[in-house]
Symmetry: C2
């Protein structure tokens, strides 16, 4: 079966559709970070997006693309992270019921977020099998439409709007970077960049401890993560066939970063940009820090994916 | 001797003078914080100001107002905090030498900041007497002009430009708030607000553990702080005659906040606004949290003073 992948036209249509519902997030710079790393960095701040994450773009688009009949039945997903909160909020705003299957070990801050947006949570054991079987039951019982966090045409199209917005905020950079987990943000970003900024290189940043995209990119085979373990908790997932295909066709390189560099990158952002980001957001900057020569003198745009960090964990990371 | 106090015209002229050198900082909102506190809050983000603090406005104005002869001799001050970095940076940008007397116990991050801006540091014992006598010696030796952190016409005029900018960013609020330490920011803010937003109440937020402005306001006498001790390290100073006079004439109330509420307010800002602020910035929000009835249903603008926090201390505060 041919995998459907959004075109730039799809992403532009998506942007018109979701624009009234999402924040046009700012782009920040730091002279001090630039002089430290000898390049010119532009940070697209999706940590300021609604629900604190770029995932609100994809979730909003998925909800708005439902048929009226489907809207009445609702949406469902399993997630322990940002997709859960983003889908719950996007659904609530549009009067759609959201059923979220969450492992009972999910961080309290994520559970609170889903609750505050009125999502209906089903708790399950923290295994993929339990998550999938519980989700199946919920869908059987409600007729809700499954919204996958990244292996979904409408979601990828929505995530691409962050880069589309960026193309209106800065002049063409030499390099654009996004973190890669499941590949939704990287996919959307690379599709937009390769279409509107043809000569710009697209580089993904990935934790060395969850390097399925790196392994896949280097080997030319779609490899899944084995026991990923990183503080960048939004990047534990592996690429799907769809996001793997987009990467192969549109991404120029994947760079990995060590855990300690990810923490150093977070500290730089807190100290000099004065903004709160989650560890996953810091991974592309960490990749820059580990590959100074590649970026020397270059103009580099980095998409900061989100700012949902548990303050308790933050203390642990930064100490 | 009559104390000179800036008028709105002085502050408008100041803004024209410093505008090319300072950031027009954004105003942020959080729907979640608003619904928690049952009021509508607007945060003027001086944590994004150059040098990470509103003090860059006053320092820039003071430097630009020097005579050419004075510019050649340089500026001097004693400071363990934000004024040191702000004055060093404002001086460097304008080709003026800055001599900073710092207690040898000053936080490393502040010392690093002054160094990175090329300020010339004289270290001394951590007493007011040692600071003043060392500053005198520096001034004798160099002929540099002393720039007081708040008891200075040009500095207060510069600090007022944050509120002047704010009047162009939001419609008139019911209340405008600033933290109060030495009273430079509160002074400038109140002068602007009483002139352009006549019916808006001006309320200061002050740590209960450094409550000289509160004691002075309530007693009608200029009282100095005795052994102030608060995590809001930018607010340890006492009002000068000049800033006391401005407060008496232009401020409607001073509210105090407990240390634990200041920490709670910081957490709210980190968690929901996704920005890094220093404890002093959180004091007005803490005062709102302790006085819900005063603010209920009101539109309230809060000036966040800065974002220069040592990550080590941050961990300590938030844990």
């Amino acid at each position: 079966m041919k995998i459907s992948i959004p075109t730039i036209l799809d992403i532009e249509t998506t942007y018109s559709r979701i624009k009234p519902f999402v924040h046009n997030t700012p782009v920040l710079k730091s002279e001090l970070i630039n002089s430290m790393l000898d390049c010119e960095l532009f940070f697209k701040c999706e940590n300021f997006q609604k629900a604190g994450t770029f995932k609100y773009r994809g979730a909003t688009n998925a909800v708005l693309c439902l048929t009226n009949a489907a809207k009445l039945r609702g949406v469902a997903t399993h997630s322990s992270g940002n997709h859960a909160g983003a889908l719950a909020k996007a659904s609530a705003i549009n009067g759609v019921k959201a059923y979220i299957v969450m492992p009972k070990t999910a961080p309290k801050v994520k559970i609170d977020a889903v609750n505050s947006y009125g999502g209906e949570i089903t708790f399950c054991e923290p295994t993929l099998q339990a998550r999938e079987s519980n989700l199946e039951k919920v869908i059987e019982g409600t007729g809700a439409v499954m919204i996958h966090p990244y292996d979904n045409f409408d979601v990828i199209s929505g995530q691409g709007t962050a880069c589309l917005e960026l193309t209106k905020q800065i002049t063409q950079p030499d390099i654009v970077m996004a973190p890669v987990g499941g590949g939704g943000l990287l996919g959307g970003t690379s599709l937009v960049s390769k279409s509107l900024w043809k000569s710009t290189k697209v580089i993904a940043g990935e934790p060395a401890n969850a390097d399925d995209a790196y392994q896949s990119f280097k080997s030319g085979k779609h490899i899944l993560s084995q026991n990923p373990n990183t503080i960048a908790d939004g990047l534990l997932t592996s690429l799907s066939d769809r996001t793997y295909t987009i990467m192969v066709e549109n991404v120029d390189d994947v760079l990995i970063a060590k855990e300690e560099t990810i923490v150093e990158a977070m500290k730089l952002v807190y100290q000099y940009l004065k903004i709160v980001i989650e560890p996953s957001s810091a991974v592309p900057l960490a990749a820059v820090m580990e590959n100074i020569d590649i970026f020397k003198g270059k103009k580099v745009a980095i998409i900061l994916s989100g700012g949902n960090v548990d303050l308790g964990s933050l203390l642990f990371y930064l100490s």
